[in-house]
Homo-oligomer: 304 residues x 4
């Protein structure tokens, strides 16, 4: 019987801090990771969409993995986003990230030619990557960024590959997630929620955890929600989930990575600016972001 | 203290049977309703989208309500879809349906001029309708048909109206549903799932029931799922929910009302054809529909 | 050889004026039509989307046709929008509008069940309507309102029906329009632009006219543009077309029917309010609308 | 007075041939370019979307520019796509492509974080790139690939930058194109059509040329169409334009780059396969592609 890496749990897809000259600030990166080590995360994801991977050079992408590996303890998983547009670049990046210390890779759907990214094309792409990858592969569907939903029939086919162990689904369609689980369960395929907004709903239909941008800010609370779900404390879970939806929306659809980084500052992490062209939040946006945390009890109202 | 009509539970949005000359077949309608009376539904919805209300004349819409009222016992709710494009037509239809026996009305978002259907416009529309309605009003957001999602801020405002008691949300975005519940809970606002595909996930975040096209076919099973959710049998609920997603998708997005009606025939109800221009299923579509029920154990495989 | 009604030219899809009690104001309707009689339009369209047909009762729709027929001279065409969601309602409305004086009917795509409105379904619908219609039928594709583009293969098939003489295409995709003309030219099929924003581009690929909301306001100018196109004064046409795009966008996508009606007031027509739920423009919207006319030289700047 | 590079004319955005081991085949690239030299193109575009730039390494992108420069005569323009997701990578690529021989660069909108790519962000991005670029910059909006339309207000602002001389607009919305020209004309801004489907319509509203994937296959015909437009032979232009729509759609939306490459083979160029994950056409797709050329008289029907 095949033994599959267990990826159950909560992960922050960490941000990439930059210096004022827009260079990667590896020291701040390590300090953030050290602070996260006290939270019962299952592991760390580097270079999900929240990590601005699209703005990093190949060398930076690998160096981030190496630095993270130095800090992330061995009993936590280090999952690295290795997706590129071409299959051969993805294969190469996967191999090098594995050599740099990643325990598994997260491979986003290639999407520039989305009109031709049929199930057939995507199955071929992921199969080639998984065939050659030294570490397990996790699929990654994030239609908000890619404009492309990995089709369920492709997921079902790919779930049978021995080196493809799960998917991060950021689309938020819990009906689709339920069906994915239903159709892949005999292969021990593991589904992770790609956002904290539907974490409880995800657990109700069988997801095993989440890779959530909000974990960069409210990681302890997401781990608490996970525990409630696992312990069947559904009423508590519901109350907590409700209070997380607006902050989560604020750091994803509404304000994106600049929102995550701004909120991190308030909670004692290194946030800072994004690389250009991702602009910093405007003052009204910062206020609205803050309101979304205050209104749900995660920050105190400003005294006047 | 205001006493609000309790709408918790499962409802089939019944189909409208037609004779071979495309006239409403009220006898078949009554016979279907009699058969549904043995299922523990909370009530019956007439003239949701599944009822082809868009294809009925005003007189037919009212007569369907009258006939249903004759058959639906007093301890079950009769909810009638009274939405029209204009506010004044909706007001009038609401009043007449109420006089015809409806316990509450379900009011779809007007949508032909969707580019101008701002929160402001929709709040005004629903407030006028609710002000004059003799019975409680339930909002109805069904973006798959209308291309319009009732905005959450409009829902929050409308939830404070004493005669607006809930919403049927057919969009399937459980994050949005959770936030709706979070932001309206102090007003006792009741949220119903508009599709069986996310019924369990809906319960996990606080919905109180569902108006589900699949209820026309597998009503007993939907009521069983409701009971599991209310009794916190989450593992059983998950297994059952998984088996309902494909049949539900088949009778909604994939094959629509013609799919519901075809499946009803297999389960002993009067289905029949839709009014033109809704075409009957093709033979390959019928086969695929059947496969979706067979694959999930709801019909036996054909013997060869 | 079949003789086909020639529909070449420009038409305003007229608005429906209402009294302060939201009743149709037939007198104002007639006065607007009288004013339009001095503009070299080919005819008048009643109950396009601009006519708020979706908000009128059946009786009002017919009465509008009758009143228009009284005022519109015989040498101008009266085209009436007769589309309803069901085939049988459309057939009946078509017949009654014909009896009420319409020279041709404009039939919008049924769209509430748009997921099932396949080419097959739409061909069947239009064929039935055209078979029974006493007057020629013009197809009407307006995806901005219906969320549905009439597929080109359906148009090609329908163009062969002897009683279907053309299409009003409001989608604005001039590539699609060019292909439609290319594939239907042997049947003498006539394509009208459904918006003034691409009138010149339409003529360049072979359209024969336009049914343009902006014609309610700047009808003389649209007829001038038509003449330039027919006389191959392409440079003049380009200059004029450029100045019409912003005002046109303002009275279509941006501000819709309330925008048309507001602008009509400035040009000496009866505009007034729309029926609820279409809200009046806010003050900032009125200012922006006015700016779009001023900036292109159609209104004088306000003196301070 | 500022003297602006004149980019009027037709350009093929050339494909990148690969060897059977998926390495760039520079010899085939040069041979294709030599064949194109007999067509009255204004110049050549390398690494538009048709060039699979998203699948090339940085080194390959530069080498393609160098090789093209060797072959493209000095009197023809060599325009190179230098867009990357981050501003700093785009600046660097622009500089290096300029050093490698590009006469101008074409800069696609960054799009991975499209939810945050506001006008403000895009204006900042392009301004930084144009400030530092040694050669003129051409904007590139291709929503089919990026899911993002460069907003008109951003274009108007950017048109005032002395080093931004035009845009390639592949969206196909000729109303938008007309408005762009209207609002930028005082700055001598030059608009190129990004597809052959609306080339004539584009000329009618003031575009000055086109960068058209179909130019790889039917370059002579596109140049003939250009000449007809410049000579005001509108009737001939219309006939020719009509015959180009279907072949153009086949090598863009329908079959994409694999379609261009397949059709190139039939017309004597090196086409070949795309890099993975772009799959080759299936046999039925090849047949349909061929039909689209045959039906419009560009290839002879197969003899039986």
């Amino acid at each position: 019987a095949r033994s599959v890496l267990d990826i159950k749990g909560i992960y922050p897809p960490i941000t990439t801090p930059f210096t004022k000259h827009q260079e990667v600030d590896y020291n701040q990166l390590e300090e953030n990771l050290q602070r996260y080590s006290s939270i019962p995360f299952r592991g760390i994801v580097v270079q999900g969409s929240t990590g601005e991977y699209a703005y990093l050079t190949k060398e930076e992408r690998l160096e981030v993995v190496r630095r993270a590996r130095k800090v992330v303890p061995k009993d936590k998983l280090l999952i690295a986003g290795s997706g590129c547009e071409s299959t051969q670049a993805t294969i190469q990046m996967t191999e090098e990230m594995s050599l740099s210390g990643a325990d598994a890779v997260l491979v986003v759907t290639p999407s520039y030619y989305r009109g031709r990214m049929t199930s057939h094309a995507l199955i071929h792409h992921y199969t080639k990557v998984a065939d050659s990858s030294p570490v397990p592969v996790i699929l990654y569907s994030v239609p908000g960024n890619t404009g492309l939903d990995l089709p369920i029939d492709a997921i079902v086919t790919l779930s049978q590959h021995p080196n493809i162990i799960g998917i991060k689904d950021s689309g938020g369609d819990v009906t689709r997630i339920g069906l994915t689980i239903h159709k892949t369960k005999q292969h021990g395929f593991q589904v992770l929620c790609g956002s904290a907004g539907f974490l409880l709903a995800g657990y109700s239909v069988g997801t095993v955890g989440g890779v959530c941008a909000l974990g960069n800010v409210l990681g302890t609370q997401l781990c608490a929600l996970e525990k409630m779900c696992l312990n069947a404390q559904w009423e508590d879970a519901k109350q907590l989930q409700h209070r997380l939806i607006e902050p989560n929306a604020a750091v994803t659809q509404k304000f994106g990575v600049p929102g995550v980084k701004q909120a991190m500052e308030w909670f004692g992490y290194h946030g800072g600016l994004c690389r250009s062209p991702l602009p910093p939040l405007t003052d009204p946006e910062v206020k609205e972001l803050r309101r979304d945390f205050i209104a749900n009890g995660w920050l105190l109202p400003e005294s006047k």
